[in-house]
């Protein structure tokens, strides 16, 4: 399943790397529920958020500057940072 990382820049403790925001990848695996770090870091009562490993092609992340377009980058992204992506 294809997903896109939300292109947004909220302040505070966020564990979505800037270089992956707005990028499209596929779900590599679903890991389970974890405390939302954006709340947990401030000792607010954290919601649970599903953590998902997303696989990106280098080409998608770095465009024509990719060292090798079909190598992968994989990262854990919280569900609330992902939206379904439909290329059509």
């Amino acid at each position: 399943m294809k997903v896109r990382v939300l292109y947004q820049w909220p302040p505070g403790h966020v564990r979505t790397p800037a270089y992956l925001r707005g990028k499209v990848g596929i779900i590599e695996r679903r890991i389970g529920e974890f405390k939302n770090p954006e709340q947990n870091a401030y000792r607010a009562k954290p919601d649970q958020s599903h953590l998902i490993r997303v696989r990106f092609k280098m080409k998608e992340v770095w465009g024509d500057n990719a060292e090798r377009p079909d190598d992968f980058i994989e990262a854990e992204i919280y569900e609330h940072w992902l939206e379904p992506y439909d290329a059509t």
């Binding site: 564990r15 890991i31 953590l51 090798r68 079909d70 980058i73």
Partner: protein, 212 residues
């Protein structure tokens, strides 16, 4: 000349190093104050604190190497390790604490490498303290941009047929690479194989190698 330093040399030709006669930072002072309060109020003893420091210092890549050697010699274990590394490690009696672990298998066509671009997440229970370079801005930023170039600087030239997979340890999971077993080591015992597994090969910046 054995060394070319500007600092004066000791009689054994080693440079003198400055003593650390600097004042404490804010956080060092804070740590000492909290530690002394905890001891004073009887929550912890100095011995307990020292024992915990020793436990943390004693964690070493030998733990991860034991896991990899087991995976090389026991296909059932390897399967469960790849499937759920945390559970497999605990079932085999490896103490990995509350760590959530993913094991990534290298093959003839796939090479995995681990980085934490946001900070320095590292599977300390299995590999000990991270090397300084792992925490450097250069490693953290370059590994996701030009992993092949970074690996080449570690002495690891990967062929065109091999796909590189960079794993950015962004959140709650920790990662260990299960390197491919070197052909020359096939047939060795699990115990002998432990010495082939290097720390770097479990981060993905090196390969296992003969201990002799």
């Amino acid at each position: 000349m054995p060394h070319d330093h500007h600092a004066p040399l000791s009689p054994s030709d080693h440079p003198y190093r400055d003593d650390d006669d600097t004042s404490l930072t804010y956080w060092q002072t804070m740590e000492i104050a909290v530690r002394e309060l905890l001891i004073e109020k009887g929550y912890l003893s100095a011995t307990q604190i020292q024992e915990q420091i020793n436990t943390m210092d004693e964690r070493s890549p030998a733990n991860g190497a034991a896991l990899v050697a087991k995976a090389w010699t026991d296909p059932t274990f390897k399967k469960s390790l790849i499937n759920d590394a945390g559970e497999a490690s605990r079932n085999m009696g490896f103490d990995i604490g509350p760590m959530h672990l993913i094991a990534l298998e290298n093959s003839e066509t796939v090479h995995n490498v681990i980085v934490c671009t946001l900070c320095s997440c590292y599977p300390r229970n299995l590999l000990g303290l991270p090397p300084d370079w792992y925490k450097s801005r250069a490693y953290r930023s370059r590994t996701v941009i030009e992993p092949r170039k970074v690996l080449a600087e570690f002495g690891l030239e990967l062929g065109e047929e091999i796909q590189v997979r960079v794993h950015d340890s962004t959140a709650d999971m920790r990662y260990i690479v299960v390197p491919a077993q070197p052909k020359e080591s096939i047939g060795l015992s699990e115990n002998e194989l432990k010495d082939w597994v290097t720390r770097d090969s479990m981060i993905g910046v090196g390969l296992p190698r003969s201990p002799i």
